[in-house]
């Protein structure tokens, strides 16, 4: 008997009982027609070899375990950053179910989004009626202030014309004539989720700004980009701006909608960039983007209005934050306050306290291109070596930029950037050129299992650890969080490696 009501066991331990183990063995032996154990072992070892790595890197068509998602996910991310805005994805409905699940699993929050639910008939005749009915239903049911339309690959392949469709829906009364329906074509077969973020944000900004006269003022605009830490980061950035007395507009502020309270009320919408602020943002002096590769087209568009644009690469750490703050200070003419200088000093102090444990450690990193850049810079600042830096949605330009970063420091010697590669490539890298730690999202746990490289979870999505998205990784305090997460893992590993009594536990130190 496996269960005892005083201590009910679930999948973690239930299946380790002898009756289940025997059942598994019999199933395998009698019915699965398995490969012989030695053959499996042989192939497993072979997958760790240089020979396998070369074959693996010679792949031209197959992608295995990529670290990227598709465009409309990014479009939905950008859309929910605006006041009472419903993202509306034109195309097949299953996609929307996936985006909503994906965000809910990461943020542990509701994620509202609708689909135009196109099926076979729409594939033949086009999705105009879906747009007309869909906008009317969304407008009436969910009472948004704005609906942002993007597309799934189905609508893109059949060539639906969003602009025309939305105009026709308007003329049929689906939404009022003056109701805001920005849109962006977001084909899943071009770029990745960061491209979709860029396209949607450009769509929203141009919807508000096109044909408008710019009257420059002293405010600045801030764009965070597609960011798993958006909740913590945007709050931190607002705090920094407030400390500096900088008047600002966050474009796509999703820090509230993905962190609503449990107080008896479900808020489908919460916070977000006010639509009036988004309109007025054309008058800002400059726009700062924290993620260059996530906002290329948006910044191009903004630059054409006459604003200065500044593109950073997901700055993490002392120098990265210094650069960010100095850019803000330069643009606004506001000095960096003593309080922030003190925060900086505290971060430097923390690094000095702990760097002995990080110095010289080798890391592998994967993620979105800007995040990789920011993390690699911070590691080098800590005296660590970002040996393998891989970005499935990174470009050749990104690779060159990473190389320049490596070349700028002795800690970058021998480090290499891998654009367009996936986590099965990373597996080969870790097997053939091992490192001490891996930084990546939740899927990195499979690499941890297969290669024994301890995983520090930083990225998107993180499904299997809770609440990290509430912490910033930007600003000096954000860097402090990243430092602590890395140190926690480093110390845990030290303890794990020294825990055998009478064998290794002389180093099981109480003070580290």
């Amino acid at each position: 008997m496996t269960q005892n009501v005083e201590n009910v066991i679930d999948h973690f331990n239930l299946f380790r009982g002898p009756e289940y183990i025997e059942m598994f063995e019999n199933k395998r032996k009698n019915f699965e027609n398995p490969h012989p154990d030695d053959k499996i072992e042989e192939v497993r070892e072979w997958t760790k070899s240089w020979e396998y790595r070369e074959k693996n890197f010679a792949r031209e068509a197959l992608t295995v375990n990529p670290a990227k998602a598709c465009q409309p996910l990014g479009a939905v991310f950008a859309a929910v950053g605006f006041e009472s805005t419903m993202p509306f994805v034109h195309g097949s409905q299953g996609c929307v179910a996936y985006y909503r699940s994906h965000f809910s699993r990461h943020f542990k929050e509701p994620s509202s989004c609708v689909s135009s639910s196109m099926t076979e008939d729409a594939a033949v005749f086009g999705g105009l009626n879906n747009m007309i009915d869909g906008l009317a239903n969304t407008y009436n049911m969910y009472k948004p202030k704005m609906i942002v339309v993007s597309t799934t690959c189905m609508a893109e392949v059949i060539g639906d014309d969003l602009n025309g469709f939305i105009q026709q829906a308007r003329s049929k009364g689906s939404v009022p004539e003056d109701f805001d329906v920005p849109y962006a074509h977001t084909p899943a077969f071009v770029g990745s989720h960061i491209t979709g973020y860029d396209n949607a944000l450009r769509g929203i900004v141009s919807h508000f700004w096109e044909g408008k006269e710019r009257t420059p003022n002293e405010k600045i605009n801030f764009i965070g980009g597609f960011d798993g830490y958006t909740v913590g980061n945007l709050r931190e950035v607002k705090r920094l701006f407030d400390l500096m007395g900088v008047e600002h507009t966050i474009l796509a502020d999703n820090s509230e909608v993905w962190d609503t309270p449990a107080d008896g009320e479900f808020r489908m919408y919460d916070g977000g960039t006010k639509l009036d602020d988004a309109k007025a943002a054309i008058n800002a002096k400059a726009t700062i983007s924290m993620q260059e590769y996530c906002t290329e087209k948006t910044l191009d568009y903004i630059a054409k209005t006459g604003q200065e644009t500044v593109a950073l690469n997901h700055p993490v750490g002392v120098a990265g934050t210094d650069k960010f703050l100095m850019e803000v200070a330069r643009i606004t003419g506001k000095p960096i306050p003593a309080e922030l200088t003190k925060e900086r000093g505290r971060l430097v102090d923390a690094i000095a306290d702990s760097s002995a444990h990080i110095h010289g450690k080798k890391f592998a990193i994967y993620g979105d291109p800007d995040l990789c850049y920011g993390l690699a810079s911070f590691l080098m600042e800590l005296g660590a070596e970002p040996v393998h830096v891989l970005s499935t949605n990174g470009s050749k330009d990104w690779e060159a930029k990473m190389q320049a970063l490596f070349d700028s420091s002795p800690f970058g010697k021998g480090c290499k950037a891998y654009p367009g590669r996936d986590l099965w490539h990373m597996r080969s890298l870790l097997n053939t050129e091992p490192v001490d730690f891996l930084i990546g999202n939740t899927y990195g746990k499979y690499l941890e299992r297969d290669t024994g490289t301890p995983l520090i979870r930083i990225g998107f999505p993180v499904f299997d650890r809770h609440h990290h998205h509430r912490y910033p990784v930007w600003g000096y305090q954000g860097a402090m969080n990243v430092l602590v997460w890395m140190l926690d893992k480093i110390f845990d590993e030290m303890d794990k490696n020294t825990i055998i009594p009478a064998k290794t536990d002389y180093s099981f130190d109480i003070i580290r």
Binding site: V8, V43, L62, T63, S117, V157, F189, R267
Partner: protein
């Protein structure tokens, strides 16, 4: 609940009317057909089902790809399932369904991996067949122990006119008759996941069964061979079921498809009986095996001791006395443990009400398990059910139960707000909505990362989890004391 059945029915009617008021007329007319109240004695639940979702309403449904790759094919562990098309579909469904399995991932087992053709613009413009061929070659090269390949079509495939059948045939021939299965489960087909299940079932018929004629049996058949059909082994469900069938003296020769293998699919036409848990997703192949191979099938329900007991007897009735005695022995063996679970948890859960909205079999199948704990299901509905599901539901629900087919986000929120159940059981997209409202919630697709819930071992976990959801002290903290 203190309302009489008639009062409940009147309340439901008002509630439905109120909910429909928000819609434009055309939509209200269409949605009205999907909302209703079960009337005792009727042969179905009085709602329309398996109809296209309405644009813009926030349906909870997925697509045919989700039904094929995510449900039917994905768990077959020793084959490689290519998400064929752009990167997203495979990414969002990657390892998300907790189909447990045993095997060396990346070597002889591939369930929790994301194989994608990652379509680029040129693949859309020039077609993806050449790329697909190359992908299959690369799979053979890098994953030599794979036992087969399936091609899970995403939306563009059917729109750009690719011939994945030709590619699959060609490559199968090239690789000595290797099982390669093209699946036309493009997301725009049909109205929900459901068509994906059907399409996937049909491909097993056409590309596995019909291609194995003449292959020698992998094992000696016995009179007690059964196959578990329609259990995806979420959190180990199929294992907690299999152990009971084996304990009663049956031999489980295949699991469809949780922890399943291609060999097991091929074994199945030799079964004496197919036992079917998720009717919705695998009735098609069960009917086919009945017609072609003469294998009878029987539906069963392994949620909660009452239904398990009835199901064990029903399954045993297809066999001789040895198995019938075996069923009684199993029932007797677990009875004290089940009683202990009920004794512990029923006093904590008695009279609590539940609203469900799930897929597959669960909107009806779990009702008995709640009732074993003294709880009452007051509302239920199917994400992608058909009328035969709603007919079967009549055997489970009470007079006056609120029924909602393909519920919209808005409707579900309003229904829960007004009915005020003690627990909602639905999916990840719904979980946080209701928890914000202060309503206890359990995910009834993924078991909220717990499980198994099937079988006797599973019921103990089910009871524990429902108790921890409802009697969680956090629900007493949602209101600030100064408010």
């Amino acid at each position: 609940m203190s309302l009489t059945v008639e009062q409940v029915k009147a309340r439901n009617q008002d509630l439905i009317k109120e909910v429909l008021e928000v819609y434009p007329d055309k939509t209200a007319k269409r949605r009205a057909k999907h909302l209703g109240t079960f009337e005792e004695g009727k042969s179905d639940c009085g709602v329309k089902s398996n109809i296209k979702s309405i644009p813009g309403v926030m349906t909870i449904r997925g697509c045919a790809y989700a039904g094929s790759k995510g449900v039917v094919w994905g768990p077959i562990k020793d084959m490689i399932h290519i998400s064929h098309g752009p990167v997203g579909c495979g990414q969002y469904s990657w390892a998300a369904r907790r189909n447990y399995y045993i095997g060396t991932t990346g070597v002889d087992t591939f369930v929790t991996m994301q194989f994608t053709s990652d379509f680029q613009e040129k693949d859309i413009v020039f077609g993806g067949d050449k790329k697909l061929e190359k992908i299959m070659d690369e799979i053979q090269d890098l994953f030599p122990l794979n036992k087969g390949i399936t091609v899970q079509s995403e939306c563009p495939i059917g729109l750009i006119g690719d011939d994945i059948e030709a590619v699959s045939k060609k490559k199968s021939k090239e690789y000595d008759g290797k099982t390669i299965v093209p699946v036309r489960c493009e997301g725009f087909r049909g109205v929900s996941q459901s068509l994906g299940h059907h399409i996937a079932n049909d491909t097993i018929r056409d590309w596995v069964f019909d291609k194995m004629d003449g292959k020698p049996a992998a094992f000696e058949a016995t009179p007690y061979d059964v196959a578990i059909i329609g259990d995806y082994n979420i959190g180990g469900d199929a294992w907690a079921s299999r152990i009971l069938l084996e304990e009663m003296g049956l031999r489980v020769i295949a699991q469809w498809s949780g922890d399943g293998s291609i060999a097991e699919l091929e074994n199945t036409p030799k079964a004496k009986l197919n036992v079917l848990h998720c009717y919705r997703s695998m009735n098609y192949i069960s009917r086919h095996m009945e017609e072609k191979y003469g294998i009878p099938w029987v539906e069963y329900n392994f949620f909660g001791p009452s239904k398990i007991e009835a199901s064990l007897r029903e399954i045993a009735s297809h066999f001789d006395d040895k198995i019938k005695e075996g069923a009684e022995r199993v029932i007797a063996k677990y009875k004290p443990m089940m009683q202990a679970v009920i004794d512990k948890y029923k006093p904590r859960l008695e009279g609590k009400t539940v609203m469900l909205f799930v897929g597959g079999l669960r909107p009806r199948h779990v009702i008995g398990a709640y009732e074993d704990l003294g709880m009452e299901v007051v509302g239920t509905g199917y994400e992608f059910g058909h009328n035969d599901d709603y007919q079967r539901t009549t055997h489970y629900v009470k007079d006056g139960t609120l029924i909602y087919d393909d519920v919209t986000g808005y409707e579900f929120e309003k229904f829960v707000e007004k009915v005020q159940p003690d627990l909602v059981g639905s999916g990840i997209k719904e979980k946080y909505v209701f928890q914000k409202m202060g309503v206890p919630f359990r995910q009834m697709h993924s078991w909220d990362y717990s499980g198994p819930y099937h079988g006797y071992d599973g019921f103990a976990i089910f009871a524990r989890d429902m108790d921890m959801a409802i009697n969680n002290p956090v629900w007493g903290l949602t209101k600030a004391p100064w408010k």
